[in-house]
């Protein structure tokens, strides 16, 4: 079997399986944004964007872009029935108040206890925190979607984050291009592997020691 890294769409597809019928979901920039394309049939997900819109649907068609209708990343949305608009204060009251079921975020580092670092590269000396800290603190469940290692090949799943933190102990699931990992009180559990990857190979790209799930399986899409 060829050992390949999953592409961004496949990561997003795996994350999308976590979204339950009726969930209110906030998708971060990058891979998380792609998740909305892959929600399993029969499930209705309510999308929240922190710039103040609920129940948004697809991106705007070319030529239909409207500066007054974007997601938090500045991507143009389509006008669909059922949307509701509100201010940033109300939007973050929803987030902080526990009204968002799932937040899907990218990450620079995640620790084995679920600490998240995703807003500042230390060497840049300046960064965009945006709504990430509020989402990390407020969403009922935080899922990280990311590449397993950084561009130099260094693990992004670490014992302790050395990048500035976004939130402590907030991440419950990590979906990467080679594995699905759950953060539990009993440790960092390897639940699923990408096709062709052994637990040992995944461990080699992961700093903390993995707990192998008794029902470890190939990634389910």
């Amino acid at each position: 079997m060829t050992q390949e890294r999953l592409d961004r769409e496949i990561i997003a597809m795996r994350v999308a399986r976590e979204l339950q019928d009726g969930d209110v979901v906030n998708l971060g920039l990058g891979i998380p944004t792609l998740c909305s394309q892959f929600v399993p049939e029969g499930r209705t997900v309510v999308y929240h964007a922190e710039n103040g819109v609920l129940n948004y649907g697809p991106m705007a068609e070319e030529g239909e872009e409207d500066a007054d209708l974007t997601n938090a990343g500045g991507q143009f949305l389509a006008w669909v029935p059922g949307m509701a608009f509100f201010s940033s204060a109300e939007s973050f009251a929803m987030i902080r108040g526990g009204h968002i079921d799932v937040s899907v975020l990218g990450a620079l580092q995640v620790s084995e206890r679920g600490d998240l670092a995703n807003w500042m590269l230390p060497q840049r000396g300046i960064g965009n925190v945006g709504g990430a800290m509020d989402l990390a603190a407020g969403a009922k469940r935080t899922i990280v979607a990311m590449e397993h290692v950084d561009k130099t090949g260094a693990p992004k799943i670490v014992r302790e984050c050395d990048f500035p933190l976004t939130g402590k102990g907030c991440v419950s699931l990590i979906v990467t291009d080679i594995a699905v990992l759950e953060i539990t009180l009993g440790g960092l559990v390897l639940k699923e592997t990408a096709p062709g990857w052994t637990p040992e190979e995944i461990q080699a790209e992961t700093e903390p020691t993995l707990v192998i799930a008794p029902d470890l399986q190939e990634i389910v899409l």
């Binding site: 500066a67 007054d68 938090a72 500045g74 940033s88 973050f92 800290m133 603190a137 933190l165």
Partner: protein, 237 residues
């Protein structure tokens, strides 16, 4: 005398902003909601040493971010370029990509401007608190991170929270969609973002709007910013 908040020009609407003023200015990921005309008028007016509270510190120099191709909207980056800015309080101060630095990032790295980074929800809530007479509140956001530095930490229900203080400003420069003469305002779509909350927290709130309508034309159930928060409205020509 009937109340009349409509002002004839952007120039007049910003003419009394003094050097050293604290401003709230809307700006998100794209031009939606940004008061481009008021920002341009403030650039021409020239007030200096400004402290600007905004979601971003200007992203227009990063092409294509929430912007229709070919368009290069005005945002607070032009005030940074014009050396009018002393400090920015923002959640999203720089380009998402380090390789495409904004005017602000260059000025910051050159030591020409100060920065306070605030989580976006904490920023919105601090502004809301400023408008709502709440001097301080506790929030779970940022506990256990850099944001806790210099802040009081307190546990509620076994969880750490930070004490955050209200933000207010001398002037708010905002963008609405429709307004009437007594200053009732509605926004359009996601352009409401920080506009509605900033309107409550400044001594003088100024909006540019697409349209001025007759009293009674706005649905009284759907007014986002009641007129008591609004001091000046300028129609975008």
């Amino acid at each position: 005398m009937a109340i009349q908040k409509v002002v004839g020009s952007f120039e007049a609407a910003v003419a009394d902003i003094p050097d050293g003023a604290w401003l709230m200015i809307d700006g998100f990921a794209g031009p939606g909601g940004t008061p481009q005309n008021l920002i341009a008028a403030l650039r021409d007016h020239g007030a200096k040493d400004l402290t600007i509270i905004s979601n971003t510190a200007g992203l227009a120099s990063v092409i294509g971010f929430g912007t229709v191709p070919g368009d290069r909207p005005i945002d607070i980056g032009v005030l940074v370029d014009n050396q009018q800015v002393k400090k920015v309080i923002a959640s999203f101060p720089v380009s998402p990509s380090p390789s495409r630095p904004t005017s602000f990032e260059k000025a910051y790295k050159a030591g020409k401007v100060e920065l306070e980074v605030v989580p976006q929800g904490t920023l919105a809530e601090r502004i809301r608190a400023g408008g709502a007479g709440i001097p301080a509140f506790y929030t779970p956001t940022g506990a256990g991170t850099m944001m806790a530095e210099g802040r009081e930490v307190r546990e509620f229900e076994g969880r750490e929270h930070l004490l955050e203080h209200a933000l207010k400003a001398d002037f708010a420069l905002l963008r609405g969609h429709r307004a009437d003469a007594i200053g009732n305002v509605v926004y359009r779509g996601t352009s409401r973002n920080f506009n509605a909350v900033m309107a409550t927290a400044a001594e003088v709130t100024v909006l540019e709007v697409d349209e001025i309508v007759e009293l009674g034309d706005l649905d009284p159930e759907g007014i986002h910013t009641p007129g008591i928060f609004v001091d000046r409205v300028v129609r975008i020509p």
